[in-house]
Symmetry: C2
Subunit: 337 residues, 2 copies
């Protein structure tokens, strides 16, 4: 654990140092430890459009019922707003579904960072028996049996060969576009003083001064490190996930989880890897006590919550895709067996 | 059963008589037994927009996972493309989910017509233990606890009181907009001779002459009568649904089902009340033999299938709604208990 703490605190001086440049300037606040989200420019629109279809296509699941959007619902902050997800045959998921919004800016994917990028992540749920319950080969077989899909793979990749590689590349290309710029906080960072109220600014000041920003910094305010859940006090949960240790095999990594983004946090409840906190008020209270050894007053808590609600950016404007129909030869879903 | 047959055949002469006016005219074909779908003009856009949110909101289910769109997926022809739907705790539904597209033009809702309109239908799945598994009171409690929803009810209904009445009225108002005009067949009906190929026109001619049109006539080519499944030969199925008899209690109504619309039938597989036919080829073959006592040749079948695929209209262009987040006081979903 000592090396974890060292890692964690090694970030803090950097973060705190850059905040010294903070002031009330009307121009962009470049010295802040948090940077505004930039709009995303897609380089391969055909691949993005194909990826969007696949993201919404439940035929990537054995049952024909579950799609990426089931658990990472773009109507709901890119999450499912339940503690842990419902998978194939109503399997109870082991961990809270992280948001897909701005997820491309994480250093790695999943709470334990076991996937290096969006593409690698996208293959996970498809073949997980407790999630979409399918196999990569069968998913590719289904998609490749559909003429309109093959034409779209041809347009996106130059070949109509369909394997899990192209499927996950297309899904990742779509997911990379799911950024949420122009939150009120980002407008304030860019110099719009009227974008935040006095309470929200007070909340941000406290967020920095009391240490939250040591982990929740950068463009997405998280996603840059693994940290112990329960630094000053242990976190009590019935959840069995051990975090980063499942990847590294090191006991020192037990209960280390990727710091989640705070972008759109108003929409991504419930909070923590076990979904144990239903409200921001509860989450701020727990984080203060367990991670920082600080009990926020009701007013302090309310100020931080008010600040956190300014992090809701423009949600991706998604036109629901119309999925190409299965061909006669397409393998049919098996929801019940 | 005799009265059923009488009813069925009483329609046929009307349908066949009007087809006599059919010709190759370049102007609109007004004498056809099928009429084009008109675009829908909403009179209360605020109610439609609210209804769209509710249609996509899984918080109308006990689990927080299932929404109207789960089984009536607007990416997939307004259906779920599986034989029978997956409900709460993976309950296996008893009957194939009918399409929501153009559903407002049905004489009644559900396969057995037990709901008189879209509004009455919308309340059914919410409170069905094997579908969304919730109660009307709890669903209204959840929605009414969310400030942004209350504001939208105020805008739509003039009051921020939320009960199942307003919820289902709003959902129905949205569903009524889900029409699919301008199919190739409708363009042909309007006089565009080039809209159909020779094979498709041959398929339509056979569709009329061999009797399909006796039941599948009107704007949505169905939805105007209950008919026996298996007129000339019994339909063999393990499905236990008894159809209209469940509503009327009359033995004569056993196995009578509402004639489904054929609009967008290319997208609404699998077919029949039990979802027993995976492909249009199979469905046309079964219908010909069981309902009309006619075995179509492979060419005849292919012609009719080619015609049926011209019935795919413009799918509703849906911008995915962003759902208002739950308040701290909002009752949380219970996916597992």
């Amino acid at each position: 654990m000592s090396c974890i703490k060292r890692f964690r605190w090694s970030l803090a001086p950097v973060a705190i140092a850059v905040t010294l440049a903070f002031g009330g300037a009307a121009s962009a606040r470049n010295g802040e430890p948090i940077q505004p989200i930039e709009p995303f420019k897609a380089t391969n629109p055909a691949m993005v459009e194909l990826g969007k279809k696949l993201y919404f296509d439940p035929r990537l699941s054995k049952s024909g019922v579950l799609s990426c959007n089931t658990c990472h619902n773009l109507s709901m902050g890119g999450t499912d707003n339940i503690r842990t997800s419902v998978g194939h045959k109503w399997h109870q998921g082991p961990i809270n579904a992280p948001t897909v919004l701005n997820a491309g800016m994480n250093m790695a994917q999943f709470w334990d960072g076991r996937a290096k990028d969006l593409k690698e992540q996208a293959g996970g749920p498809i073949a997980n028996p407790g999630e979409m319950g399918f196999t990569h080969a069968l998913a590719a077989d289904v998609v490749g049996s559909i003429p309109q899909y093959r034409a779209e793979f041809k347009a996106a990749f130059g070949s109509d060969k369909v394997s899990i590689d192209e499927i996950t590349a297309a899904i990742a290309a779509f997911e990379a576009t799911l950024v949420t710029p122009n939150s009120r906080f980002d407008r304030w960072l860019r110099g719009d003083n009227a974008a935040l109220t006095a309470q929200e600014r007070a909340g941000y000041k406290l967020f920095k001064e009391s240490g939250c920003v040591a982990c929740h910094y950068g463009t997405i305010m998280g996603g840059t490190s693994f940290q112990k859940m329960g630094v000053r006090e242990p976190y009590k949960t019935a959840n069995k996930e051990i975090g980063r240790a499942a990847v590294t095999g090191k006991d020192a990594d037990r209960f280390n989880f990727k710091v989640p983004t705070l972008r759109n946090v108003e929409l991504t409840y419930p909070y923590f890897h076990d979904g144990g906190a239903d409200t921001l008020t509860e989450a701020v209270d727990v984080m203060g006590r367990l991670q920082l050894g600080r009990t926020y007053t009701a007013k302090e808590n309310a100020d931080i919550v008010a600040f956190l609600k300014t992090l809701t950016g423009e949600q991706p404007r998604i036109t629901l895709p119309i999925l190409p129909p299965s061909a006669d030869a397409t393998r049919r879903p098996v929801p019940f067996d």
